[in-house]
């Protein structure tokens, strides 16, 4: 509790006035000379306990009433359950979740969770802390501590505006921890403003253990979590998986694969208008949604034949969560899906090249080149989507090693195949072990079929991975995500944990007949290679779809990117959905689709994450207008009234003795 007029607290000793007056009266009472002291003493003895208690209660009520009046005039502010108690901290750090899901709105007022939370927090901090504490903002867009002059700045700053990103709450907390330890902030209040989305909090991450341990060592730290966890009712979300410009002799059209999802609890069929805007030309179609998901595959939208490239978006009718009602896309003449096989072994490279040159999508062009490791420097890095690296792993500080890492950072793909010669170098935390041969070919016992290279087809049919036979296997060592295992829990295909948009896989065998049946059977290898190629091709070409995020537009000068439609600050460009262009590059930025998952953390999960820390959760709702901290003089007036009432009741004269006085 804090006070708007704290100086008046010096008047608090006045609360003792009733006691002083009582003592004065005690010595100023009229005196009566009395003979029958015997009866008086007996009556006193009979009445002693109750009378003393009553007298103490009366005095306590009077003191309470005076104290309440004094508190009223000091204009107390309290967060009550908000924990804004215990005085003013030295530093207040606000960790702001600006993810797309925080834009869920109160439909009546149009206020988002983010805006409501910021406004309330700013008001509460202004009323309670004011400028007496150092105020620091860390938001998920930039993860950089920003010193604020006053709490009201929270409302006006672009850094607290909306984004279409996802939040990394452990990273926010890590940012706060770094700031606290670097600046020795003293007594610190950390406020986390979030909607508790599981995708943002990443509760399974190993980072939490380290954060808990580090925060537990900090003295005077209090964590406050202002949560807006309520889901959006009847929310619809749209996303576009694929955009292809298709041109035939007579017409040109855009083929869209799009998906509309809604709250899993809604099953009523509904007619839904879908609005397409392509190069500022809009069209609307009506679709019927019968389940919780509607998928349109290859939905064709006619375009002018002369329109070779452009941008567009799909829009849903407005609902409580506007961030997922629009999905932007760009299109261009499709780039050639180029791949390079770096290998000396023609027997192995041949099937790979054949598979990569075969057209999985008849509308695209495919090209695959085989280069010996010595000629790896000739790779056209800008145009290649997939590199199949069947050569010794490069050293991390070699030029080729750095180039491969840059290739991954640019969102492209690499599939590593083992070589016959021993090689102890590691790439992305993984390296090759020894070869082993099986007399009886091993089969794939487990593979991941929900995502990754071996996932089921779009129709849900599983790939015949179980039919693959592996007679020679090279051990894959190091940390990674297994995608397939042979009998005996031996990893066959691993995905390396490499930061960035690109993907690197390690396959523990070769496609040739001497090692496995991959080349012979073909289907699994073809699917695997083309999926890796498509993953790498996402960032290929002049028109690209990207997830909004700090690194969405690279690390260069952001001001060179021009946004179509509304303008935003250059620093905010990569964080906001829309279409941006630089030179001949068109990039459609959209929210990460994991923002569409409405699952939130429960209290038990939060308790586990913050176990051992001084924290408390304030559950708020975007429809709730009540401020976090408010003047609570009414409460004190109420207390005063109660105290006076209690005093009056206790002071009421006792009921007249119904019995006549003795010996009358």
């Amino acid at each position: 509790m804090t006070f708007l007029a704290p100086a008046l607290l010096f008047a608090l000793p006045l609360a003792a006035l009733p006691v002083i007056i009582h003592l004065i009266h005690l010595y100023r009472r009229r005196q009566v000379k009395w003979a029958a002291m015997m009866f008086l003493q007996m009556a006193q003895r009979m009445n002693k306990g109750l009378s003393r208690l009553r007298q103490i209660l009366i005095l306590a009520f009077r003191v309470l009433a005076v104290a309440a009046i004094l508190f009223v005039i000091t204009r107390p502010m309290a967060g009550g359950l908000l924990g804004l108690t215990g005085g003013v901290p030295d530093t207040v750090i606000v960790l702001l979740d600006r993810s797309a899901s925080m834009e869920q709105q109160n439909l009546a007022t149009g206020t988002s969770k983010r805006a409501a939370g910021i406004a309330k927090l700013a008001q509460a901090l202004r009323d309670t802390v004011g400028v007496r504490s150092k105020l620091v903002l860390i938001e998920n867009g930039h993860l950089q501590p920003q010193l604020l002059e006053k709490p009201e700045s929270l409302i006006d700053l672009p850094l607290t505006g909306p984004t279409d990103t996802t939040a990394d709450v452990p990273a926010l907390l890590q940012g706060a921890l770094d700031y606290i330890t670097t600046n020795q902030t003293g007594r610190t209040d950390v406020w986390v403003l979030s909607d508790l989305r599981q995708s943002d909090w990443d509760a399974g991450s190993g980072r939490w253990q380290a954060l808990r341990s580090a925060f537990a060592t900090l003295k005077g730290l209090r964590l406050h979590l202002l949560s807006y966890a309520q889901p959006a009712a009847q929310n619809l979300a749209v996303s576009v998986q694929r955009v292809v410009r298709n041109e035939t002799a007579g017409k040109a059209e855009l083929l869209l694969d799009l998906r509309v999802t809604r709250d899993a609890s809604s099953h009523e069929p509904m007619e839904l208008p879908l609005r397409f805007v392509i190069n500022d030309v809009s069209s609307t179609i009506k679709v019927e949604m019968k389940d919780s998901q509607l998928v349109l595959q290859g939905h064709a939208i006619p375009i002018d034949k002369t329109t070779k490239r452009g941008a567009g978006r799909v829009e849903l009718p407005a609902d409580a969560s506007p961030a997922d009602n629009v999905y932007h896309f760009v299109f261009d003449e499709p780039a050639v899906l180029q791949s390079v096989i770096v290998s000396d072994d023609e027997a192995e490279a041949g099937p790979l090249q054949a598979a990569l040159e075969a057209a999985a999508d008849p509308t695209r062009k495919y090209a695959a080149t085989v280069l010996s490791p010595a000629r790896a420097a000739e790779i056209a890095w800008d145009d290649v989507a997939l590199i199949v690296w069947h050569a010794a792993l490069p050293k991390a500080d070699d030029l080729i090693g750095k180039q491969l890492m840059n290739h991954l950072s640019a969102g492209r793909s690499i599939l590593f195949l083992p070589t016959e010669s021993a090689n102890s170098e590691a790439f992305g935390g993984q390296h090759w072990g020894a070869w082993s041969s099986e007399s009886k070919p091993a089969s794939v016992e487990w593979w991941r079929n929900d995502a990754g290279l071996l996932a089921n087809t779009r129709s849900g049919t599983a790939l015949p991975v179980g039919d693959v036979e592996v007679s020679r296997r090279c051990e894959i060592l190091g940390e990674g995500t297994p995608l397939a295992r042979l009998t005996g829990n031996l990893p066959l295909l691993m995905r390396a944990d490499i930061p960035g948009d690109g993907n690197a896989w390690f396959l523990g065998t070769l496609p040739g007949s001497g090692s496995s049946s991959l080349a012979r059977d073909g289907v699994v290898m073809f699917a695997m290679l083309h999926r890796a190629l498509n993953e790498g091709a996402r960032s290929l070409g002049r028109a690209q779809q990207r997830e909004a995020g700090t690194a969405a537009l690279g690390s260069g000068d952001l001001s060179v990117w021009k946004r179509q439609g509304q303008t935003v600050l250059s620093s905010e460009q990569p964080l906001r959905a829309g279409v941006v262009e630089k030179g001949d590059k068109l990039v459609a930025l959209n929210r990460p689709l994991r923002e569409d998952h409405p699952e939130t953390l429960g209290k038990a999960a939060l308790a586990e994450l913050f176990a051992g820390l001084d924290y408390h959760v304030i559950e708020d709702q975007v429809e709730n207008d009540a401020s976090l901290a408010s003047e609570i003089w009414r409460t004190f007036l109420f207390v005063m009234a109660l105290a006076l009432l209690g005093e009056a009741l206790l002071c009421m004269p006792a009921k007249r003795d119904p019995q006549p006085s003795p010996a009358r």
Binding site: R29, D657, Q659, P662
Partner: protein, 283 residues
């Protein structure tokens, strides 16, 4: 007709008087027969009885004697309580003085004992001049100090050797159980004990309207009390005390008069004397 002051029990007086004596005497009032023992005055033999029963019986008659009236006055500080113009002690003085006068008029002896540390002890004697002395002493007494009622009553019981009508004037602000032993001591010495229990209505009602500091008139502590809080318990304490006092009267057989200071003292005396006349008449 003036009301006499009668004793309820036989008195052992030094001279002839109006009161019954335990000693058989020569009055006209027959008392009893008793067997002759050697040494008895043969003149008192009832020859008629001898003639009828062939046994010697002595015929005894009542002896009338005078009365010793001992006025025991409580002179503790609490006796000063009462309206400004008339305290409890003033009231007691009127009662005692009047009784002394009546007794003297009957030819009875009158004595005065003040029940205090510095006591006045005037043995009972007859005569108008002695009455004057008693009344003068009575007028000079100033109630003061703590109560020594119980001790003084025991002292008086020991010092008043002959049977007497002992009349006590007091507020009796002592525990009835302790008072009982003192009264029984007096009764053991064959005294006819009468008590004037002097109380004020305010002492019974405790009818105060606001808190006050009550100062003990006998020099004890002062008590701060809120009548609204303790009046009920006060009355309960008084009720209990008076009940115990009634029980004391019943068990000791003393002549007890509960007097409130607003009552007229002549009415109180008349009631007291009349009750004694009725007792005697019924003998």
């Amino acid at each position: 007709m003036a009301l006499p002051l009668n004793a309820r029990h036989a008195m052992l007086g030094g001279v002839s008087g109006k009161h019954r004596s335990p000693v058989r005497g020569s009055s006209l009032e027959f008392a009893q027969y008793r067997k002759y023992v050697p040494g008895d005055d043969t003149r008192r033999l009832d020859w008629r009885t001898w003639g009828r029963s062939d046994r010697f019986y002595i015929k005894e008659f009542e002896a009338d004697t005078n009365l010793r009236l001992c006025l025991l006055m409580d002179t503790s500080g609490s006796m000063n309580y009462g309206p400004a113009d008339s305290t409890r002690f003033d009231y007691a003085r009127k009662l005692a003085g009047t009784l002394g006068y009546i007794a003297a008029q009957q030819g009875d002896a009158v004595g005065l004992w003040s029940l205090a540390e510095k006591s006045v002890e005037i043995p009972a004697k007859r005569g108008a001049s002695h009455l004057g002395l008693v009344l003068d002493q009575m007028a000079g007494i100033q109630p003061v100090g703590g109560t020594t009622l119980l001790t003084a009553l025991h002292d008086a019981a020991e010092k008043i050797r002959q049977r007497a009508l002992v009349v006590i004037f007091s507020d009796l602000f002592v525990p009835p159980a302790e008072l009982k032993s003192a009264i029984q001591h007096l009764r053991f010495r064959k005294h006819d004990v009468a008590v004037f229990h002097l109380l004020d209505q305010q002492e019974l009602d405790f009818d105060f309207d606001r808190p006050a500091r009550f100062i003990d008139m006998e020099g004890g502590e002062a008590i701060l009390a809120d009548p609204s809080l303790i009046a009920r318990n006060y009355r309960e304490a008084v009720r209990q005390y008076l009940h115990e006092m009634d029980e004391l009267v019943r068990t000791t057989g003393m002549d007890y008069q509960r007097v409130k200071l607003h009552e007229k003292y002549d009415d109180v005396l008349a009631k007291f004397l009349l009750a004694r006349v009725e007792k005697k008449g019924g003998r």
